[in-house]
């Protein structure tokens, strides 16, 4: 029974990773860059919910919507200011800039909200579901998280398959120049990708802080890196891959924490990343990359 409980916790954490990983995977697929600041957008989203909910007594749902809006705008601004000018520069330069943006967001939050951790009150206040005669309680946050993850995943897949904007995203990720020649607005599509990814980051942040209720300016960076691991694990650029990678990573982390060592759980997650990259660098569902000379 405890194993089952751990498994459910793992799936819940994995769902959060999956939502964050979506942001990474979409941006990587289209802009071919690792958006290091993604984790910190999550943290900003959390702070928005925290201040509006605890400080201004807004309805939880309203503050979540507000947070999504703020993060979406933030994502677009970051892309326009920091990444767009470097689109044709070396990947190293883009990566260092992304690290700079991440650093900037963290320190901005540190200045505005202070280093002390805030205790985040969960937005989901339903009683836990008790299975197996009360022996296996599943918290309502867990259920909401998993459902949110599934809905987002399905919605995104439909969006990409069925809408024009989604098709444009696919085209840009395949070949930017060709897409432009076919009349796709490349800049707009990239902005849209950042907007969706950052909006999802806000939702992931709220779910993360509801499950693990301490909020500091560094809240986002570790889950961000782990979610990137998940995206790589599942095959970067692939949306189902992000889902599978996220869930598997969440399960590995929770089981590792429970059965191997609680202090080494981060090390275990990173060891998984290293192994995946060495054995199958393109991840579970990734397409092989061919290098052109």
């Amino acid at each position: 029974m405890t194993f089952l409980a751990h498994l459910i916790n793992g799936i819940s954490l994995g769902s959060i990773y999956a939502i964050i990983a979506l942001g990474y995977t979409m941006v990587y697929g289209i802009a071919k860059m690792l958006n290091f600041a993604h984790g910190d957008v999550i943290m900003i989203g959390c702070y928005v919910v925290f201040t509006t909910m605890s400080g201004m007594n807004l309805h939880p749902l309203l503050s979540v919507v507000l947070s999504v809006v703020v993060c979406t705008v933030l994502g677009i601004v970051i892309e326009k200011v920091a990444y767009k000018p470097l689109r044709k520069a070396s990947p190293l330069a883009v990566l260092i800039t992304a690290i700079g943006v991440s650093y900037l967001l963290q320190n901005l939050a540190l200045l505005i909200f202070g280093a002390a951790s805030k205790s985040f009150s969960s937005i989901v206040t339903l009683p836990p579901l008790k299975l197996a005669g009360g022996k296996l309680p599943i918290s309502s946050v867990t259920i909401v998280t998993v459902i949110a993850c599934l809905v987002i995943m399905a919605g995104l897949m439909i969006f990409i398959k069925k809408t024009k904007a989604g098709q444009a995203m696919l085209a840009v990720s395949e070949d930017k120049e060709a897409a432009q020649l076919m009349g796709v607005n490349v800049n707009g599509t990239i902005s849209l990708t950042f907007a969706i990814g950052s909006g999802l980051a806000a939702i992931a942040g709220v779910l993360l802080c509801s499950a693990y209720p301490t909020l500091t300016p560094y809240t986002g960076s570790m889950p961000g890196i782990k979610a990137f691991t998940a995206a790589v694990f599942g095959g970067i650029g692939s949306i189902p891959g992000a889902f599978i990678g996220g869930i598997l990573l969440g399960i590995i982390e929770i089981l590792g924490r429970a059965y191997i060592s609680s202090q080494l759980s981060d090390a275990i997650v990173f060891a998984v990343l290293i192994l995946v990259l060495l054995i199958k660098p393109t991840g579970i569902l990734g397409k092989p990359i061919h290098e052109k000379v």
Binding site: L92, L104, F228, F270, I274, V293
Partner: protein, 360 residues
């Protein structure tokens, strides 16, 4: 041809001499100021950290500037150097070796241990490229930090005891001495790092990297950075040269770690000193100093370590300013539009021309 070669040689030698001279002059000035008592105790306490960060920045610059691979795990190599050397010093506490020689061996061991880790980690990591390589070095750095935090090593009459759980599971005799105490780290390392030793290590590091980058191997490393496929097709052994640069870079970071360990009474592996934040801090030094310029790395490491101490009032904004400067530097240096603008408005066109010639 010969004439230009000679000229080029002179240019690089001059450049190297300026860097050495700069370090020595700063050293002499600092010594005089200490002797006359015009250096505040705060600044005196900063002298060794300045050396530490300069050394690690030199090492990281070799990796980022010359090898062209972004390592976010150099704090991990520092950690290896720090812990292995502190472990050695603690083990040799009661030995007959004179103190100076002991510290010398500690430095050698720290450097070798970091080099070994650099080599072992480099073998798998350097097969990857770009973003993947960066994130995997970050992962290795975090793993090193995490593992050190659960490492327990003790010694008693029977020999060494090792555990990864807690001090109780070491099963030591009562008179045993716990050397590495998990998250509490190593305590009781003597305060042996001095400014003089730090400066000597900076000079040695500079000597190593200057000779490397101006050698045949160094040119091979730069060729790999500029075009991997072209370098491979002219017969350069990519793996060998990448590993060489990465290992040397890690070893230099290890030397910085040794100084770090012997500058503090208690050595612990925290996110702030050996975690990912430290790696980013080091990267900021390298980028602001100029990728590929060792002199720049030293200057920026020194300035950025000293500034917050001098401007106490600004300390809240310091990190924010770093971040903004980092982004602005990257945009100014690398954005195609900014490069174009600079080329149109630059009076220093000839310097750029010379530099591109130098790379060839």
């Amino acid at each position: 041809m010969k004439k230009t070669d000679f000229k080029k040689m002179k240019e690089t030698t001059k450049n190297q001499l300026i860097t050495y001279a700069m370090v020595v002059i700063v050293y002499i000035i600092a010594q005089i100021m200490t002797a006359t008592g015009s250096l505040s105790s705060l600044m005196q306490g900063l002298l060794v950290p300045l050396c530490i960060y300069s050394i690690v920045a030199i090492g990281l610059n070799l990796c980022v500037g010359y090898l062209g691979e972004l390592s976010l795990g150099h704090a991990g190599f520092m950690c290896v150097g720090a812990f292995s050397s502190a472990f050695f010093t603690r083990c040799m506490e009661n030995s007959a070796l004179p103190e100076g020689l002991r510290f010398f061996f500690a430095i050698v061991i720290g450097i070798l241990a970091a080099a070994l880790f650099g080599f072992l980690i480099g073998i798998p990591v350097l097969r990857l490229r770009g973003d993947y390589l960066a994130i995997v070095t970050l992962a290795f750095g975090e793993i090193i930090k995490n593992v050190v935090n659960v490492l327990y090593i003790g010694r008693d009459a029977e020999g060494f005891h090792f555990s990864m759980k807690d001090t109780l599971s070491l099963n030591m005799a009562e008179d045993g001495d716990i050397i590495i105490n998990g998250a509490k780290g190593i305590t009781g390392t003597p305060h042996q790092s001095t400014f003089t030793i730090g400066v000597i290590l900076i000079l040695i590091s500079l000597f190593v990297v200057f000779n490397l980058v101006n050698s045949r191997s160094g040119r091979a490393i730069m060729a790999i950075r500029d075009n991997r496929i072209a370098a491979e097709s002219v017969g350069i052994n990519i793996t060998k040269f990448k590993l060489m640069a990465f290992t040397i870079s890690a070893a230099i970071a290890g030397a910085g770690g040794v100084l770090y360990a012997h500058n503090l009474a208690t050595l612990t592996a925290l996110p702030d000193n050996f975690g990912y934040n430290m790696s980013i801090m080091l990267l900021v030094f390298v980028v602001l100093g100029g990728m590929g310029s060792f002199r720049g790395s030293i200057i920026s490491a020194v300035l950025l370590t000293m500034l917050p101490e001098l401007l106490r009032g600004l300390s809240d904004y310091r990190m924010l300013i770093y971040a903004i400067v980092l982004i602005a530097m990257m945009l100014f240096n690398w954005a195609p539009k900014a490069i174009e603008w600079r080329e149109q408005h630059s009076l220093k066109d000839f310097i750029k021309a010379k530099r591109t010639k130098g790379v060839q």
